[in-house]
């Protein structure tokens, strides 16, 4: 059997971390991400009415309901990311504390947000983009590639492996992210730009909180 205590410690630490980081992210989003998103939706809906009338599935109503579901999703993402950080901390097997956690959080931010966003910038609703499956594949490959590249850069013992890590970091960007045939957006360009700025900040807060808290809560004694 495997060490159940370690697993339980990881899960408990990740639950608290995800809950707190998810709530903090929701608060940050309310202030600076959501206003831009709501503005973009006005443009998106105006464009949709002009074109065809789509069938709409259930969606949370604006206001508290929407905030509640966003918070649930954010907490889900937070717990998921915290579990991944906990997993690598546990694999490393070194004593952890919040400062070490911040470094892991930074690595997560670079891997899951910065690297994929360089090719596929965060988009407001109503932006033309390449086929979803293509973008998801590129996103996934970039995340895996960046994660592996960063760990080689940080932990590999020889220069050759470190160099290989650096190659992995740039490779997806040399290949390039899938692009739509025509770039167009229902929302004005300034709105798209302010959305990018808002998410760059919000995700930095999110990831550093996840890393710092996970380092603090999952204290591995060696």
């Amino acid at each position: 059997m495997f060490n159940l205590t370690t697993f339980r410690e990881l899960v408990v630490a990740a639950l608290w971390t995800g809950l707190l980081a998810g709530l903090l992210l929701t608060a940050v989003q309310q202030i600076q991400v959501l206003p831009t998103l709501l503005q973009a939706e006005v443009y998106e809906e105006a464009a949709a009415v002009a074109n065809t009338h789509e069938h709409h599935d259930w969606q949370p109503g604006n206001g508290w309901e929407r905030t509640f579901f966003t918070a649930v999703a954010n907490i889900g993402l937070g717990v998921g990311f915290a579990l991944l950080i906990g997993a690598v901390m546990c694999l490393r097997g070194r004593p952890s504390h919040w400062r070490m956690g911040l470094l892991w959080g930074l690595a997560g931010y670079l891997t899951f947000f910065v690297a994929p966003s360089l090719g596929l910038p965060p988009e407001v609703p109503g932006t033309e983009a390449a086929k979803l499956a293509d973008r998801q594949s590129w996103w996934l490959i970039t995340v895996l590639d960046t994660g592996f590249g960063l760990s080689l850069l940080a932990f590999a013992l020889t220069r050759t492996y470190k160099f290989f890590g650096a190659v992995l970091l740039v490779a997806p960007h040399l290949i390039g992210a899938p692009q739509p045939d025509v770039h167009s957006s229902a929302a004005p360009a300034e709105l798209a730009q302010s959305f990018i700025t808002a998410t760059v900040f919000a995700n930095a807060v999110f990831w550093l909180t996840i890393g710092g808290l996970m380092g603090q809560f999952y204290k591995k004694e060696s």
């Binding site: 599935d57 966003t70 889900g76 979803l132």
Partner: protein
Amino acid sequence: MSSTPVLLDNSQTPTRSEALKDRILPAMLAGMLGLGLLYAAGFAEAAQLHNAAHDGRHSASFPCH
């Protein structure tokens, strides 16, 4: 000890089976649980899930729509 080149600095490993039980398996399990959650919150296609998590996905820059 194996003769394969040391790729990562894992010199603290006491014995292989202990490392497997104490570190590798719990970490893998926690990692898989994490990936499952991320998939549900970030990628699952079901319309209700997508709409509920919509703002979170856009904000996290997951490919959406």
